[in-house]
């Protein structure tokens, strides 16, 4: 059962949770459109920056004072000194509201939240796979892998070349960057999972871990490929969240816990899960 899940049960020991569920008021100091619908937001956020780990997210208040809106979960894209970077894709009210904030705005957020990636899994060689806005949290992961001197290979997919973003940023922290687009407008023409499979089939490399973030069908495919090759794999899953801190049980995903399947909280036991414990579908 849920309450029976030891904290960090699905995680390596290095991510001993030391949550600081504090509210922060952070200042937006930079806002740049990086694609037609993705905006890069930089905040001055020393406290959050200090605590943030790759794969964690922030629960961000959207909308003015007078209207009622739930918070929106947004991954930590990068941390640069005391600044925190988010990538926001405009999909609805909240993300548009965020992407439209003028520089200088104060934003109210909770975090960092969730368990994050276990970069100790990585060893010398790892693959970091991203699709769509799911690439967001991977930059900071790659940066931390590089800092650990185990830089990862970044495999990224998108529909067109125009949907890819921040490739230079990724290049600066990844060992290598491999690109797939549905229409072949850049890199491999086809799915990111095809690139992943061919990398793994290349026996000259010995990958020790896979990290992925993107749409659920992609994660499921990545997970299957990892299982096939017997490689540890962590994925960051999405879920609709209300509280973001483990209270409401809105955000659950099916997982194996102590040999039985149950619903675990994406906001608390996740959003990053080892695919070993994750169960796809309801």
């Amino acid at each position: 059962m849920l309450a029976g899940l030891p904290r960090g049960a699905t995680k390596g020991p290095c991510w001993e949770p030391e949550f600081v569920n504090r509210l922060h008021q952070v200042e937006l100091i930079e806002s740049t459109a990086v694609t037609a619908d993705v905006t890069r937001l930089v905040f001055s956020a020393p406290e959050v920056a200090k605590l943030a780990r790759p794969g964690q997210f922030l629960h961000v208040k959207v909308g003015g004072e007078d209207a009622f809106y739930l918070r929106r979960p947004i991954s930590i894209h990068d941390v640069i000194e005391d600044r925190m970077v988010l990538l926001v894709r405009r999909v609805g009210y909240g993300t548009n509201w965020l992407a439209d904030r003028p520089v200088g705005s104060a934003i109210d957020l909770i975090g960092p939240l969730g368990t994050g990636f276990d970069s100790t899994l990585a060893g010398a060689q790892s693959l970091v796979v991203g699709g769509g806005i799911g690439c967001g949290p991977l930059l900071y992961l790659l940066r931390s892998l590089k800092v650990r001197e185990t830089p990862g290979t970044y495999i990224v997919g998108g529909r067109h070349a125009a949907d890819l973003f921040s490739i230079e940023d990724f290049s600066s922290v990844a060992k290598d960057v491999l690109i797939a687009t549905d229409d072949g407008s850049q890199g491999h023409k086809g799915l990111v999972t095809e690139l992943l499979a061919s990398e793994l089939n290349d026996t000259s490399r010995k990958y020790e871990a896979i990290f992925a973030c993107g749409p659920e069908p992609m994660l499921k495919a990545v997970s299957a490929i990892a299982a096939e090759h017997g490689i540890p794999c962590e994925v960051s899953v999405e879920a609709l969240m209300a509280c973001g801190i483990g209270v409401c049980l809105s955000c659950v995903h099916k997982a194996q816990v102590d040999g039985s399947t149950e619903y675990v909280r994406v906001c608390k036991e996740g959003p990053v899960f080892n695919t070993r414990s994750l169960v796809w579908g309801n």
Binding site: A3, N21, A67, F68, Y69, A242, G244, V247, Y263, N282
Partner: protein, 305 residues
């Protein structure tokens, strides 16, 4: 002037007329990182059942105008694990603990009540006879005066703990149900639980919640809740805990003027993790501003127009 915010409801001594809405505060651990739990009048924990419950498949949540739908489906670890893992924490907060219980049959409520009567540090039991998400669960009790009475009576006979009956708004006459619950021995009434609702993803042409529909909560339902609290307060003599869309002290005062002796904060916690503390403070400020010396003076203090 320092206002006296304390209130006693069915023997529960609350330092302020504010508790948490069951299921929106878990057992208080998480929000304890944001607020001082001891400032709350009581903590009402998430509904527990006798056996563990897996809950409904996700998605379980959908935002709606000024509110949200949920279909959690009473996911909980069952009474034994709750007593072992959560009750000690709750007890340690030092505030009165209200435990919400639910079952699919009268016997399940009964057995839960007996089981919990043996535990220390429980201020009251709240009977969730109203969760609209569990087909085989509470909803059948809460829409029928007869079943409500039967249930309350049975539980009443098995425990000395104060009993709070939590009502569903999805009925033709909430006062009938309230009267039945009180007649059968409920010491207090809490309302409202969520309002049945549904939302559809028109791009994929599927319901937004996996189980089709769920319960609406948040500011959107506040006027519905205020009306029901008002009506029930005219119909029964026992104290009322009012809830539904409360965000601020002002909202809470609205419920108190409507006839509630205390209020519970639910969905607002999610957008503002300090909402409960803010409501206590807001009530205090209202009382200061209006020279109210005792919060009890405000209960039902509504002038006719």
């Amino acid at each position: 002037m320092s206002v006296d915010l304390s209130i006693e409801i069915a023997g529960i001594k609350m330092s302020a007329p504010v508790t948490t809405a069951s299921g929106t505060f878990a057992s208080g651990r998480e929000y304890g990182d944001f607020i001082d739990l001891s400032e709350l009048g009581a903590i009402t924990a998430k509904t527990i059942t006798f056996e563990p419950r897996e809950g409904n498949p996700p998605p379980r949540m959908s935002e709606t105008p000024s509110g949200m739908l949920n279909s959690i489906g009473l996911q909980n670890p069952g009474v034994d694990e709750f007593v072992e893992k959560d009750l000690p924490f709750l007890r340690d907060t030092g505030v009165p603990i209200i435990l919400s219980i639910a079952g699919t049959r009268v016997e399940e409520y009964a057995i839960l009540a007996s089981r919990l009567s043996r535990e220390e540090g429980i201020a009251a039991l709240e009977l969730n006879i109203s969760c609209p998400n569990v087909k085989e669960g509470g909803v059948q009790f809460g829409v029928s005066s007869h079943l409500t009475a039967e249930l309350v009576e049975e539980v009443r006979s098995l425990t000395d703990l104060p009993l709070i009956a939590k009502l569903t708004p999805n009925v033709s006459s909430i006062t009938d149900i309230a009267v039945a619950a009180v007649g059968a021995g409920a010491d207090a009434i809490s309302l409202i639980n969520t309002v049945s609702g549904m939302a559809i993803d028109i791009e994929r042409r599927i319901p937004r919640l996996a189980v089709g529909s769920g319960g609406l909560s948040g500011p959107a339902i506040r006027p519905i809740a205020v009306k029901m609290v008002h009506d029930v307060s005219k119909a029964v003599e026992v104290p009322i805990i009012g809830m539904g869309g409360i965000r601020t002290g002002e909202d809470a005062i609205e419920f108190i003027l409507a006839g509630a002796s205390a209020v519970a904060v639910g969905t607002s916690n999610f957008s503002d993790p300090m909402a409960t503390a803010g409501v206590v403070e807001g009530i205090r400020q209202y009382c200061d501003r209006h020279n109210v010396s005792k919060i009890t003076d405000l209960i039902g203090d509504l002038n006719p127009r």
